[in-house]
Amino acid sequence: MKRSATGWLFAGPAVLAIFVFFFIPATAALILSLTDFDIYALADIRNLRFVGLRNYAELLQLPLFWLALGNTLYFVFVGVPLSLAASLGAAMLINSKLVRFKPLYRTIFFAPFVMTLVAAAVVWRYLLHTRYGMANYGLEQIGLQPIDWLGDPAWAMPSIILFAIWKTFGYNMIIFLAGLQSIPQDLYEAARIDGASRWQQFRHVTLPGLTPVLLLTGVLTMAQYFQLFAEPYVMTQGGPAQRTVTVLYFMYEQGFKWWNLGSASAVAFVLFVFMFIFTMLQFAIARPPRGRA
C-alpha cells in the first residue's frame, strides 16, 4: 500500500497534468462541437445552446470545408510518398560504403528538420518569389520558363509539398539509416551469389527488411502531414484561390478569427476521424496476409 502511494507520488503530477490539460479538453471538444459556441457565448455563457449535429451538417454543406479537406488530402497523398522516397534515397546514399564524410552529410540533411518551421517558411517564400526568387533564377539558367510558385493556384500546393519534403526528409532518413544497418549483410551476399541485380536486391532484401520501419514512418509522417498549418499561414495565407486552405487552417480561422469555437471543434473532430481511419488502413495494408508472415 505504501509502495503504491510512492508510485503515484512520482507518476501522479505528470498524469494529472496530461489529464487536465489534454484529456479533459479533448473530451470537452466533443461536447463543444455539439454547441453553437461563438462570440456571443464567449461574452456571456448563457447564450450557449446545444445544437446536436448541426455544426457537422453545416460543415458538409460548406464548399470551403470540402476544398480544405481536398487540399489536405492532396498534400498528404502526394507529399507523404514523395517525402518517404526522398528519405529512403538519402539514407541509401549515406549508407553506401562508397560515400565519404557521412557524418557531415547526415548533419546537413537533418538541419532543415531542426530549423524553426516559420523561419524556414519565410526563407522559402523568398526563394520562390516570382520576380526575385532563386528558384526562378535557377529555372532560367537551365532554359525553363519561370513559375509563379506561390501565386498560381495549380502550383501553390506543389510548392508547399516541395518545401515540406525539404524540411522533413532528414528525420525519416535517420530512422531508415538505422533500419538499413539492421539488415544482415549476409542477405545481400547471398543475393549477389544468386546473381540478383541491384534492383532485385533492393526489391527482395532491402524493402522487406525495412517494412516495419516503413510502416512506422509512414504512419507518423502521415499524422504530421495531416496537421499542415504554419506553411500556408506564413507562405500563402490560404491562397491563391483558397488552394492552400487546409483543414487546420480552416479550423484556426473558424475558431480564432471568427470565434466559432463550436464549429471549429467539429472541424477538429472530422480531422481526427480522417487521421484515425487512414492510420488503421495503413496498419491493415502493412499486415502480411495470413500464413505468409
Binding site: G7, A11, I108, V114, V123, I174, F272
Partner: protein
C-alpha cells in the same frame, strides 16, 4: 560500371543533394547581411556587396526583437525545466515502481498519442481564459508541463536499470526520494539531456499554440513575431532573412552541439519502440 566510376558518381550525387539541402540556409544567412533592397533584384546576388548588420540593428532597435528573443528563451527554458521534473519522475515510476493502476494508466497515456493536439485546443483556450491566463507565459507553458512522449522515453531508458541496484538501496534503508536522487538521476543523465533537448527545440519551434494563446504583441515568441512581421514587411526580404536567422540559429547551434543525444532519443522513440 567500374568501382571507381561508381565511387565518383555516388559522391557527386550526395554532394549535389547536400548543396540543394543546404542552399536555403546559406542563402538566408547571406541575404541577411545585404543592405535593404539589395536582394530585391533579378538575378539575385549571391553574396552581399558590402556586408552590413543593418537588418539586425533595425530588428532589435525598432522591431523590438530583443523582447521576442527574451520571451522565446524564457518560455523554452521553463518548458524544459517543467518537462524534466514531471516526465522524469513519471517515466521512472512507470518503469520501476509498482502502484495500483500503473499499466492501465500507461496504456491510456499511450493511446493519447493518436489524438492530435489540435482537437483539444478550443476547450483548452476557454479553460485557460476562465483561469485568466490567456496571453501569459503560464498559458503558453501549459502544454509543456508533461508529455506522453517524454514519459515514454524516460521509461524505456529506466527499464534497463537493474532492480538489484534499487533493492540494495532499499535494504540499506534509503528513502524512495533518496534512491531517486542519488542513484537513479545519475544513471538517467543521458536521457535527461535528450528530454531537455527535445523539449527545448520543440517548444522553441512551436507555432500554433503560442499564436492562439499569446494574443498581445508583448508576449509573442520568435516564430509568432516572425510570422506577424513577415505579413507586414512582405517586401523587406533582407530584414526577414535576418529575422529568420535570429529565430533559427539558437536551435541549430543547440542541435549541433548535442546531436548525439537527439538522434539517440529519436531512435529509441521510434525504431526500438
Amino acid at each position: 560500371m567500374s568501382r571507381r566510376t561508381e565511387t565518383i558518381l555516388m559522391n557527386a550525387l550526395v554532394i549535389v543533394v547536400a548543396l540543394f539541402t543546404a542552399f536555403p540556409l546559406v542563402w538566408m544567412l547571406s541575404v541577411s547581411f545585404m543592405s535593404p533592397g539589395e536582394a530585391s533584384v533579378f538575378p539575385p546576388p549571391l553574396w552581399p556587396a558590402n556586408a552590413t548588420l543593418e537588418n539586425y540593428v533595425e530588428l532589435f532597435a525598432r522591431g523590438g526583437v530583443g523582447r521576442y528573443v527574451f520571451n522565446s528563451f524564457l518560455i523554452s527554458t521553463c518548458a524544459t525545466l517543467l518537462a524534466l521534473t514531471f516526465n522524469v519522475t513519471a517515466g521512472y515510476a512507470f518503469a520501476k515502481m509498482r502502484f495500483a493502476g500503473r499499466d492501465a494508466v500507461f496504456g491510456i497515456l499511450l493511446g493519447a498519442l493518436i489524438i492530435p493536439a489540435q482537437v483539444g485546443m478550443m476547450p483548452l483556450f476557454l479553460m485557460l481564459k476562465s483561469m485568466g491566463i490567456i496571453n501569459t507565459y503560464a498559458g503558453a507553458l501549459v502544454p509543456w508541463i508533461a508529455s506522453v512522449f517524454g514519459i515514454f522515453l524516460v521509461r524505456q531508458f529506466a527499464l534497463s536499470i537493474p532492480d538489484e541496484m534499487i533493492e540494495a538501496a532499499r535494504v540499506d534503508g534509503a528513502s524512495e526520494f533518496r534512491i531517486f536522487r542519488s542513484i537513479i538521476m545519475p544513471v538517467l543523465t543521458p536521457v535527461l539531456v535528450t528530454v531537455a533537448l527535445f523539449t527545448f527545440l520543440t517548444s522553441w519551434n512551436d507555432f500554433m499554440w503560442p499564436l492562439i494563446v499569446l494574443t498581445g504583441e508583448q508576449n509573442y515568441t520568435l516564430p509568432v513575431a516572425l510570422a506577424a512581421l513577415s505579413r507586414e514587411h512582405v517586401q523587406d526580404n533582407e530584414m526577414m532573412m535576418a529575422g529568420a536567422v535570429i529565430t533559427t540559429i539558437p536551435v541549430l547551434l543547440l542541435f549541433l552541439a548535442l546531436q548525439r543525444f537527439y538522434i539517440q532519443g529519436m531512435l529509441s522513440g521510434s525504431v526500438k519502440g
